[in-house]
Amino acid sequence: MPDETLFAQILDPKNRADPYPLYARMRETPVSRQADGSYLVSTHAALRSLIFDPRLSSEDLPPSRRPATGNPLKDWILNPIRNRVVNTHRPLIFRDPPDHDTLRGFVMKEFTIARVRDAHAKVATLVDALIDKCRGRDTVCLVDDLSYPLPVAVICELLGVPEADERQFHAWATRLATALEPDARHDEAGRREIAATFDVISDYMRRLIREKRRHPADDMLSGLAARGGRGRPVMGDIDLISTAILLLVAGHETTVNLITNGMLTLLRHPDELEKLKADPERAPRVIEEILRYEPPVHFRTRKALGAIAVAGATIPAGSSVVLMLAAGNRDPARFTQPDRFDPDRNDNQHFGFGGGLHYCVGAPLARIEAEIALVTLCRRLVAPRLLDDPPPYRAGASLRGPKNLGITIAGIA
C-alpha cells in the first residue's frame, strides 16, 4: 500500500535537511495518490513524460483573496476587481499558452546573450568584493555574505531596479516566493498575505515603470516597458508589473540556493573542492551535478486538465499534480549511483532548471553566477570547514536551501 502521507512528510520541516530517503520511497510508486487527493510524480521517466504533456496546466494558483476591511466600497467593489485583475494577470510561471508564450517571448527578447555576457564581468567583480569584506574574520556566513547579496545585485542591475531600494523589497520577495510552497498557498492567512504583498510590490513597480518610460536606460525593465513601434505589440501594464515582480523574486530566491547548496556539497566532498580549485575548467560539470544532486527548486505543482495515463497509473482530470523534480534527479533507473556526487558523470539530464515549456528563463545567468562564485570561493577561502552539518534550513520545501551556512576559515587568499 503506497504511503499517502509522503508529501506531508516532505513538507515537514524536520525532513528538510535530508528529504532524499523519502524521495526513494516515493519512487517505489512512480505516480502516487496522496491523502489530500493530489498526485505525486517522482520517477525520471514519468516526470519527463509529464513535463512535455500539454494536459498539465500551470494555472493552478488558488484565486487571490484580499482580507475584509469593513469598508463596503472596498470589500464589495474594489477588492473583487483587484482580485480579478490579479487572477487574470499572473506571472508567466503560472500561465499557459498562448499567454505564457507571448509573455515569455517579451522576456526572452530582453534577456539577451549580450546582457548575460555583460553580467559576467560584473559578477566576477562583485564576488571578489563580497569576499574581500570577510577579511580578518574566522567565519563566513555564506548566505548573508555572498549567496544572497550576489544574485540580488545582479538581478537588480539587469532589470534596472535601484539597488538602494533592495532593503525595501527583500522581505516582499521572500513572502511572494511562498506562492510556490503548497502549505502557504492553501493557508487562508498565507493567501491574504501574498495578496497584500503583491499589492505593495505592484505599487512600487508601477512607479518604477513610469520612471523607466520617462527616462529609459539600458536595462530589461526599460526594454519591457518601451512603447512598441509600428504595430509591434506592447506588453500590457499589469502583465508588465507581474513579469517584473516574477523576475525580481526569481532572482532573489533561487540562485541563492544554488550557490549555497553548491558550497555545502563541495565542503562535504573535500576532494571535489580540491579538484575544482586545481582545475576551474571543471566548473560547468560541477554546476550541472549540483543542479542534479542538490537542486535549488525541489518540486513544482500543476493541474491536470484531462485524464492522463502515465507510468501505469491514471491521473484524473482536475487533480493537483506535484512534479517531484528532485526525486527524478536521484532516480537509479536514469542515473548510475544517483546518490553519489559525481561531476564526471555523462549524460546528466537533470531537472535542476525544470523542463519543457517552463524551463528556467534565467538558467544561463544562474550558471554564470554559480560558476564564478564557487570557483572564487574555492580559490580564496583558506582551509574552509563546515561549522554545522546539517546547517539550518529555510522554511520552503520547494525552494529548498540553507538559511545560513557557517564556514570557518583560516584566512582569505
Binding site: S49, F52, P54, R55, G306
Partner: protein, 441 residues
C-alpha cells in the same frame, strides 16, 4: 584469429551515418581493423546547417565538421569513392584502382542532390545544396549580390534556401509544381500557411508551375523559361529537386539496389537479388530501405538526420551480434527545419494521411501544433513554431494512439478534422521517402 579480426570492418560512406556507425562499433567493444571510405575529401561534416546557418553566412562552412564522440582508431580512405563491390571475393574496388578486403561491410553512402535534368544544365550559376563544396560555391555566388535568385522546388531545402536568400536581402522567386510549398511532405493545408508566411517575407512564390528550361549568355544563366511561357530574368539558380540514393556502385554486386535505395531486412542487412540477406553487409542512413515495424513493415527510406544516427548505431550493434540475435530496427521518422523565423518539426510520417487537426494554438497565429491521422490512428505530429509540446505528441504517434490523440490540452481549439491535402499514392510506392522532396522533371 577470426575473419573479422583479420580483415576487419569497412564502412563505406564517411558522413553522419558512417561516423556514428563506426563510433558505435568501437563503443560496443569492437577492437579489430576499421576502415572508413568516403568519396569526399573531408572529415565527416554536418549537412543540415548548409542550407541554413552556412547559407545565411552565420557559420563558416568549415565549422560544420562533426565532433567525434569516441576514439575511432580507424584508417580513413577519403576522396576515393567505392566504385564496385565483389561479394564473392569480399573486396571493395575504389576509384583509384585499389581494392579493399572486408569481413563485414556497413554501407552508408547516402544520397546525392538531383541536378537540373533539363535544358541549360551546363550553364554557370546553377547550384545544388548537398556538399561542403556546394555550400562554399553558392555562398561566394550569393556574396556577389545576384539581382534575382530562382529556386526550383519547394521542398525543405528549397524553402530554407529561399528564407536565407531573403535574409540576405536578395530578390527570390520560388517555382514549384504543387499548389503550396512542402505540399508532398506536409500537405497543402499546412503548406498554405507556410506560403502565406513566405510571401509575407517577400518571396515571389510561383505555385503550380515548372521551369521548362534555362538559357544564358556567355555560358552564364540569365533566364528561366516557365512552362506557361513566362520568362524570368535571373543570374543565380538553386536546384532543390531532392536527392537520389548513391547505389550506382552496387550495380554489379547482386544486391537489391536501385535509385530508391538499397533494400535491407528488418535488421538492416542488405538483401541480395535472390532475396536473401547477406549476413555480412549492413546499411544505414539515407541509402537504406528497410521494413519499418512501426509502419506495418512497409519498406521505407528516411532521409533525415535522426535516422542516420539511430539506424547506423542500430546496424553497428547487429553487426557485432550473432546471427540469432539480430534485432529489428524500429524508427519514428522525424525532422526539423528553420525557415522564415519559424521552427518546424515533424514526428512520424504523413504518407497516406487522410485527416489533419490543429490541436493547440491556431493556424491564424502561425504558431500551432497539428496532428495527422490515417484510418483513425495518429500517424504524425507537426509543430509549427510550437516545439515544446511535440515530445508528448511524438509519444502518442509511436504508441499508435487514436486520432486526435491528446484531449484536454491547454490552448486547445475546438478540434475539427481538416483535409490534409496530401498528394495521392506515388507511382512507384517502394521509392519511400525519396519522393518526399518535390519531384519536378
Amino acid at each position: 584469429m577470426t575473419e573479422v579480426q583479420r580483415l576487419g570492418i569497412v564502412v563505406v560512406g564517411a558522413s553522419l551515418a558512417g561516423l556514428r556507425g563506426a563510433e558505435a562499433l568501437r563503443d560496443r567493444g569492437y577492437d579489430g581493423p576499421l576502415t572508413l571510405v568516403g568519396d569526399e575529401p573531408h572529415q565527416p561534416y554536418d549537412r543540415p546547417p548548409l542550407s541554413k546557418h552556412v547559407l545565411a553566412g552565420e557559420l563558416p562552412p568549415e565549422a560544420t565538421v562533426l565532433p567525434q564522440l569516441s576514439r575511432l582508431r580507424a584508417r580513413w580512405r577519403l576522396g576515393q569513392p567505392a566504385v564496385a563491390l565483389n561479394r564473392e571475393r569480399r573486396v571493395l574496388h575504389r576509384a583509384d584502382g585499389a581494392t579493399l578486403p572486408y569481413a563485414k561491410l556497413l554501407i552508408t553512402t547516402g544520397a546525392r542532390a538531383r541536378t537540373w535534368p533539363g535544358e541549360g544544365a551546363d550553364l554557370a550559376g546553377i547550384f545544388t545544396i548537398r556538399t561542403l563544396e556546394d555550400a562554399r560555391a553558392l555562398w561566394s555566388a550569393l556574396a556577389c549580390r545576384p539581382n534575382r535568385v530562382i529556386i526550383v522546388g519547394g521542398g525543405l531545402i528549397g524553402c530554407e534556401a529561399a528564407s536565407c536568400c531573403r535574409d540576405l536581402g536578395l530578390a527570390v522567386t520560388l517555382v514549384d509544381p504543387n499548389p503550396t510549398p512542402l505540399a508532398r511532405l506536409l500537405g497543402t493545408t499546412i503548406g498554405a500557411t507556410l506560403a502565406e508566411r513566405m510571401r509575407g517575407a517577400g518571396v515571389d512564390f510561383r505555385p503550380k508551375t515548372k521551369v521548362r528550361a534555362f538559357s544564358g549568355e556567355a555560358g552564364q544563366v540569365r533566364r528561366a523559361h516557365l512552362a506557361g511561357g513566362e520568362v524570368l530574368e535571373t543570374d543565380l539558380v538553386i536546384v532543390a529537386l531532392g536527392a537520389t540514393r548513391d547505389t550506382g556502385w552496387l550495380a554489379a554486386a547482386g544486391l537489391a539496389a536501385d535509385a530508391g535505395g538499397l533494400t535491407c531486412d528488418g535488421a538492416c542487412r542488405a538483401i541480395s537479388i535472390a532475396g536473401e540477406p547477406d549476413p555480412d553487409i549492413y546499411a544505414a542512413g539515407d541509402v537504406a530501405r528497410w521494413p519499418n515495424p512501426l509502419y506495418g513493415d512497409r519498406p521505407m527510406t528516411v532521409e533525415h538526420w535522426g535516422n542516420a544516427v539511430d539506424q547506423a548505431r542500430h546496424a553497428a550493434a547487429n553487426m557485432l551480434a550473432s546471427a540469432s540475435d539480430q534485432i529489428p530496427y524500429r524508427h519514428l521518422p522525424s525532422f526539423w527545419s528553420s525557415q522564415f523565423g519559424l521552427n518546424i518539426k515533424l514526428a512520424g510520417s504523413t504518407e497516406g494521411a487522410d485527416a489533419l487537426a490543429v490541436v493547440q494554438g491556431t493556424r491564424a497565429s502561425q504558431r500551432f501544433l497539428a496532428v495527422y491521422g490515417r484510418a483513425g490512428r495518429t500517424v504524425a505530429a507537426l509543430s509549427f513554431d510550437q516545439a515544446r509540446w511535440l515530445p508528448a505528441y511524438a509519444e502518442a504517434v509511436a504508441a499508435g494512439a487514436s486520432f486526435p490523440p491528446i484531449l484536454g490540452a491547454t490552448d486547445q481549439p475546438r478540434i475539427e478534422a481538416l483535409e490534409p491535402g496530401l498528394p495521392g499514392p506515388r507511382r512507384s510506392p517502394d521509392r519511400g521517402a525519396a519522393a518526399l522532396e518535390t519531384a519536378h522533371a
